[in-house]
Structure formats: structure tokens, C-alpha cells
Symmetry: C2
Subunit: 502 residues, 2 copies
């Protein structure tokens, strides 16, 4: 080292703060693994729905951060004593609410590797493996779903990992919007109309408003119980025709395969036929239901996909990925990039300039992105396609068990036919008492036991309970026990009601 450095070096303190000593990391991370494995072993002993009251945590933690370090043991003990009581245990085998989160060892290992490299792959050169593995994995999943080549990199399209369906819809909607506005002029943004059904996920309206679509121009087409709450192509046609007559411009249709409330499936092919008459962008939101389409017997729900422009599906919902993981495929990557491209000098390099590589920052909202594909890659390889299909089928079989239990009890009814692993059911009318308030009470009492957690919905004016099988640790006996908890609560209620009505 040359003498010119001596002064510089002497002027610096010798002590550096190095918070990534590999041996310290190794020691503590092993400790964390044991903590987590023990949690997974005991998770079913906790109340599945947290029983704390709003504001519980504030009084247990200091108002300000510590000035000096605290030990990892202290932190783990605080997690055990203060955090875990406030957790609603999504991993509990007794979790049947919302759509459960499907987790697993391989997904966890994939997360660890994603974190390990912390590759911020906004463009190819920033981490070639991150970009290229994502392209491979997206094509693998497209293959599993029998998507047409037009959605694959090995064909003329491609896929990208987003965090949420909202982001997938926003990115494709904006691509569709800009294509049309480039033709008719930006000043006509107020004329653009988007379409979904009254069962389309609530994010749709929010995302459309984010993109500057006039709230009056967001159509939630009514569905009917006779159609099992799916969007009718005939009704859609009429709604669009009326808009066109008003000189509005039909822009985007969101078709759902597996709605959140009841897992209704919109008829993709016929809806796409209608929308394509008006040159609309058609997107399939298959966040939950699409996962089942890796099984040949459910693939027909995607029939007609070759006619649409984009499809999204969330493996974090049912294909063993931890949150946040939403797959988006499109036939029109160029349109996505036209709308979402940035080209700052500090990210330019020979590869991006020659257009020879994918820059995933131009396929999403943000600039930074994690190395998410490695998680999916580890999952797909660790289990293989057959086991993943088996996983979907096992969950559906357990849902059928629950469905049969409900059907065999005269006090209950199945409200909407089951399609996947969700059963929509309710207590029937009893002694003249209000059905909705009885079912509300049932839900509240069942959840307050902490032994099982389910949620509700209202569709077509009917209040119903939702029981979804999907938590990874759930086995059939958990389903049967859940039903017993429900029956116990109902029996208590029946006694109370009989007492009241006498």
C-alpha cells in the first residue's frame, strides 16, 4: 500500500460495524430454525383466531427503539410472549377462513435462498440468474397449466412474478389503456369503460380508479343465483352495447376463475368472444381457482384462454408459495413494456440498449424486485408436478368430506354448489328466527372458541359461511373436528332458541 494512504488510514477509526459476520449469522439462524420448527409443531395448540383486543401490543412494547443492542434470545422470548398471542395463525390446521395460505418446507427454503442473495434484479445485468430463472419458471408453470405458446417465452409471450393480483391487473390495465389512448387521444380517458361482475374481487374497482378510470365507468355486471354467480356473456353483451351507444369506449374485461366469495367461474371462452368484438383487453383473474387447473380434470375452467390477453394466478393462495407471489402471463409483453418502461442513464448498459434481454422493472410498478423465482423453482423441483396435483386433489377431497357432513345434517344447507375446496353453507331457518342473525351468531361463537376459524360472505342477498380447506397442515380429522365444533355450538344455540320460543 502506497504511503499516500497512511494519513488517510490513520485518520479513520479502526472499528467497523459489521452486522453480517457469517459465524454469528450461522449460530443465530440455526436458533431461528429451531424456534420455527417448534412453532410449526405446536401451532395447532394456539387459538387459531387471535383473542386479543385492539391496542393490545402498544402497552407491551416501549414507545421508542433501544439505543443499544438486545440479544436474539430476548427478542425470541418477546415474540413468544407478546407477538404470538396477537397472531391469527394462518398456518394452523384449523384455519378455514378467507383463502388459506399454503406453505411448506420447500417454499421456506426458497424464501431463505431468495433472501440470501438479495439480488435486486431490476434488469438483466443486475443479476442475470434472477431474470433468467424467472423466465424459466414462468414457462414451467405455463406448461403445467397448458397455456398456449403465445403466453410463453418459448413462444411469443412471457410471464412475470408480481406480488399481488392488484398489481397484475394494474399493469395490464394500463397497457390496455395506453394502447387505446394512443389512438383516440389522452383527453378521452373519461370515455374508457371497464367490466367485471358483482363478484369480481374488490381490488378491481380500486385498481381501475388508481389508473384514472372514471368511477362511473366501472361496470359491476349483476350475476344471478341461476348462473351460480358467474358472469353471463349475454348480459355483458347488452351492457357493452349500451355503453357503445353512449359513445363510450369499452376497454378491459376482468374474467374470474374462482371468485372470492363462492369460487364461481366465469365462462372464459364466451366472454372473450363478446369482448373481442369490441377489441377489448381480456384478463383472467385465476388467483385461487387457476391453481387447480394444473390437474387435467380442472383444466377446462381455463378453456378459451387462447382468446384472452393476460392471465394471473397466485401460488401463494393454493400452490404452496408463501406470500407475496402472483404469476402474470401476457401475450403482449411489448404493450406492457411500452407503458411501464423507464430508461434512466444510471441503469443503461449494452444489454438493455441492444434489447437482447428482459428488463423486469419494465413489467411491473416498482423498480426494485426480489429474486422471487427461486422460491417457486425450489417448490416445483422439491415436490414435482404429480405431488402438486395430489396436493390440490387432497384439499378438494377434504372439502367434499365437509360438504357431505353438512349435507347429512337437516339443520344445514349447502348454499352454492362446491367447485373447488370452498364449501358455502348455512343454518336453515329455525323456529321463525332470522336466518342471517342466527348464522352470524354461529360464526361469532365458533370463532371465539379459538378451535377453528372460518369467515362469511353475502351473495345474492344471502348470508353464508365459508369453509375453505387449504392450510397445509390440515388433515381430514381436523375437518371432522371442525364440523363437530360447529355442531356443538349449534346445539347450544338450538337449546337457547327453543327455550326462548317456548
Amino acid at each position: 500500500m502506497g504511503s499516500q494512504f497512511t494519513n488517510v488510514l490513520e485518520s479513520l477509526e479502526s472499528k467497523y460495524f459489521n452486522p453480517l459476520d457469517p459465524e454469528d449469522f450461522r449460530h443465530k439462524a440455526h436458533k431461528a430454525v429451531d424456534f420455527i420448527a417448534d412453532y410449526y409443531k405446536t401451532v395447532q395448540t394456539y387459538p387459531v383466531l387471535s383473542q386479543v383486543h385492539p391496542g393490545y401490543l402498544k402497552n407491551r412494547l416501549p414507545d421508542t427503539p433501544p439505543d443499544t443492542p438486545e440479544s436474539f434470545d430476548t427478542i425470541l422470548s418477546d415474540i413468544q410472549n407478546h407477538i404470538i398471542p396477537g397472531i391469527t395463525h394462518w398456518l394452523s390446521p384449523n384455519f378455514f377462513a378467507y383463502f388459506p395460505a399454503s406453505v411448506n418446507s420447500a417454499g421456506f427454503l426458497g424464501e431463505m435462498l431468495c433472501t440470501c442473495f438479495n439480488s435486486v434484479g431490476f434488469n438483466w445485468v443486475a443479476s442475470p440468474a434472477a431474470t433468467e430463472l424467472e423466465m424459466v419458471v414462468m414457462d414451467w408453470l405455463a406448461f403445467m397449466l397448458h397455456l398456449p405458446k403465445s403466453f410463453m417465452f418459448s413462444g411469443s409471450g412471457g410471464g412475470v412474478l408480481q406480488s399481488t393480483t392488484s398489481e397484475s391487473v394494474l399493469c395490464t390495465l394500463v397497457a390496455a389503456r395506453d394502447r387505446v389512448l394512443n389512438e383516440i387521444g389522452m383527453e378521452h380517458i373519461g370515455k374508457l369503460v371497464v367490466y367485471g361482475s358483482d363478484q369480481t374481487h374488490s381490488m378491481f374497482k380500486k385498481v381501475c380508479k388508481l389508473a384514472g378510470i372514471h368511477p362511473w365507468n366501472i361496470r359491476s355486471v349483476s350475476t344471478r343465483v341461476e348462473d351460480e354467480f358467474s358472469l353471463s356473456p349475454h348480459v355483458l353483451q347488452k351492457v357493452i352495447a349500451a355503453d357503445v351507444e353512449q359513445r363510450l369506449v369499452p376497454l378491459y374485461l376482468c374474467v374470474t376463475v374462482g371468485t372470492t366469495s363462492t369460487t364461481a367461474v366465469d365462462p372464459v371462452k364466451h366472454l372473450a368472444d363478446v369482448a373481442k368484438r369490441y377489441n377489448m383487453w381480456v384478463h383472467i383473474d385465476a388467483a385461487y381457482g387457476g391453481n387447480a387447473c394444473i390437474c387435467p380434470e380442472y383444466r377446462h375452467f381455463l378453456d378459451g384462454v387462447e382468446k384472452v390477453d393476460s392471465v394471473s394466478l397466485s401460488p401463494h393462495k393454493w400452490l404452496l408459495s408463501y406470500a407475496e407471489c402472483c404469476c402474470l402471463w401476457t401475450k403482449n409483453p411489448d404493450l406492457l413494456v411500452d407503458s411501464l418502461r423507464t430508461n434512466p442513464e444510471y441503469l443503461r448498459n449494452e444489454h438493455t440498449e441492444s434489447d437482447s434481454v428482459v428488463s423486469y422493472k419494465d413489467w411491473q410498478i416498482g423498480t426494485s424486485r426480489r429474486f422471487k423465482s427461486i422460491r417457486l423453482w425450489v417448490i416445483l423441483r422439491s415436490y414435482g408436478v404429480e405431488n402438486l396435483q395430489n396436493h390440490i386433489r387432497t384439499d378438494i377431497r377434504m372439502a367434499i368430506t365437509f360438504e357431505r357432513l353438512v349435507s347429512s345434517d337437516v339443520k344445514f344447507e349447502i348454499v352454492v354448489p362446491r367447485r373447488f375446496s370452498l364449501v358455502c353453507f348455512r343454518l336453515k331457518q329455525l323456529n321463525g328466527f332470522d336466518t342471517e342473525s342466527m348464522n352470524r351468531k354461529l360464526l361469532e361463537r365458533v370463532n371465539s372458541t379459538g378451535r377453528v376459524y372460518l369467515t362469511h360472505t353475502v351473495v345474492g342477498g344471502i348470508y353464508m359461511l365459508r369453509f375453505v380447506v387449504g392450510a397445509t397442515l390440515t388433515e381430514e380429522w381436523h375437518v371432522i373436528k371442525a364440523w363437530e365444533v360447529i355442531k356443538e355450538v349449534v346445539n347450544t344455540m338450538v337449546n337457547e332458541y327453543e327455550w326462548k320460543s317456548t
Copy 2:
């Protein structure tokens, strides 16, 4: 178990697919920890910039996923042989590009715990601890930054964890937009004008277009070298006044504390004074520079923050969090929620109905969200405020070392005064050769050694090299060695050029 279940049970296969056996998880996760610790130990032996060519991975991996399981050992060996060669090692101590990613043991442990619970905390009841810990941590960080109470839950505002600055800007921009459109009418969206400088991050234009702002109405106010590329309040005032004269409506100003190219700092206080004359929403993008403001000696860069509406800062850039972690605080949570609220039946519960709790899904774009606050909480507690300040100061001291080395060499010049841990420098004019192409060649050659990675930018027409200290494993000797690599390359080039010019 009642006899009515017997048939149902017999009709089911007895084998369940359970991919989360706690002991299997424990075994493999320990293996992953060792793999990762070993990677951290050896990361500096890899070429920091990946040396692969586009398409390298496709030919190394099968076109389709396996039907049956592969072992974790096989997968780890593929990661070693096929993935690691394609990785640009953001964790390498020789990484001085972009803004490096600051990682650490505590952040990793926090990630593991976030993954462990996989709490999808879209609203309070879905995981009370996830919501309440986020509120605590956001107030802790606000306290560390001396933000006014008006940005804290303990005051009248609050904070939320986003994934990226883009999302923070999109959410606040839409809140600002809707407030104004509610007054002047949605049909006037084409009149809204937003303001940044020519140094504002490239995401700004993209996000504004996403939100339906007319591309013509996105102002990139020119900065000057005399102002060190910061936005001049005087010039801004003139630009806004001209727009108002055209009957346009000033909406939103994005002020930057630490621009990406040169870490320029816009004068918050004076710019806010100008913008507030026009009732605009003022946002501070302090993604990188804001992290330094936890040290009292840098806090003045946020002076005037009490006048703005929102601030965002990314701990994944410099405060030891893994990607994706962007903190957003606002004085106006109600306006954010007004624009971003969804209220589907299936997520309703007594707490959301009574408005007694925060529903973080209404503070962000998507519905799902990870339990990110636990990562930051573990970091803040494991190191304490003093060490985090020490971390910032250490990086800046190392940047000063590099700055002095550059200054001491007559062939080089510092192009923009250093503010934080970024040094912008270049080779001076040499023997009549073109400065820009010489510096381009220098960068290309330095990076192709694999011994160090830095990037470039162009500001005010000047091509310059960026050297940022921030990778966690970097110690002073890495900085000195990097400078030696640069000098070696320059000496070779000087010899070549002298040969050419004779």
C-alpha cells in the same frame, strides 16, 4: 366419531400430501443455513459482476418441471453450479454499484420470522400483531428521524410499509389527485400537473402516468451544476405560475433527499413553501438519503418536513433491511384511505365496521401483505439506534477515504461534491482523447475484471462514474483495493493511449 362418517372416510384415500413436516423442515432448513453462511463467507471470492452471457441459463435447465420430487441436495448443488455463476453479488464487499443493498444477520432472522408466520395482515383481525407491530415500528423509525408528531400514530398521522418508493408515490399521488378531483370534477383529470426535477427518480414519471396524469403535465424542472443539481424553489415557482396561467391545476411535488445519480438534496423547506402557496401535496422521496437522517449531523436535510404531506424512505437501501422495504409516513391517512379503501363483505368484521383499527390494505395498492414489520423490529432491537448511526457514519467515512484517494490523483477529478456515501468522479481529459469514451472504457474494463463493480451516470451532460459504499461486508481495505483496481486499469489504458497518440 358418529357412524355417519364411516362411509365418507372409507371412500377417501388414507395418504395425505403433507409438505410441512416440522422435523423435515428443521433438517433441511439447518442445511440451508449452513449453505448460506458458507456463501457469505466466500462471497468475495466470486466475480462481483456476473460474467455470463444472455441466455446462459436456459440451456442448463430442463424445459419443463419434473414430475416427481428432487432432493434438496440436488437443488443446492444446482444453485452452486448454475445459479451462482449468473448472480451479480450484491452482498460482495466489492459491490459499489447503484445503491448497494444493506443486509445483515438480524434482517435475515427477521425475514425468517416473517416467513414463519406468513400472516396475511390485510386487516386487523387477520393478524392483530402484524398490524399493531407495524404501527409501533413506524412510530419508532419516525422517532429516530425526529419526524413531527403529525406523521406518527402517537400524533395525528401514521406510517405504513410499502415494497418500493414507486408504490409510496403512487398511493400518495392518488390520494392527492382524488382530493382535488372531488372538488373540480373527475373530467378535469387532464388539467392536473405534477412536478419534480430532471434528477427525480425515473419511477416518478412512470407512476404519474399510471395514475392517469397526462404525460404533457409531468414537469421535470431543469437543475444546474451551480445548484449541485438540486431543484431551485425560484425556478419551480416560475414553472408553476406559468401552468396556473394556462389554467392548469398544480397537484403534487416530489422533492428528493439524495437523488439517484448524484445524491443531490432538494431544499425541502423552500420548495414546500412554494408548493403550499398552490395547495399542492408535497412528498419527500428520501429513499437513500433519508437513512442518514437518523444521525443528528445529517438531520438538517429533512428540515421543513413539517410542511410536507408525506415522506418515504427505503431501509433496504441503507438501513440494513433486505428488499423490499419502503417506509411511507403521511399526515393524511384519511385521504390515503379515502382513495384506497375496499370494503368487500367477506372481509368485514366488528372491528373494521367500528373504525377502531387500522386496515393496512387501505393504505396500499394490493390486498395481501406480508408481516414485514417484524423484520425491521428485529433489526432495530438487535443493533440499537447507536449502532445504526455508527453504520451510516462508517459507510460515509469509507466514501471519504475513496474521495481522498481520487482527489490525490491528478488524472482524476471529483465531479460533484460528495454528500453521503456516493463519490461521483471521472478521468480527466487525456491527450486529446474523448473524456466520455475514455471513462466508458474504464468502467467496462474495471467491471469485466470481476474484482469490483461500479456503475455510471450522466448529469448535466457529464458522464461520470459512481462509487457507492454501502454493501454490508465492505471494509476499508476493500475500498482501497477497489481504487487500486481502477488505477491498474487506467495505467494500462494510459499506455495504450500514449502508444496510439505517438
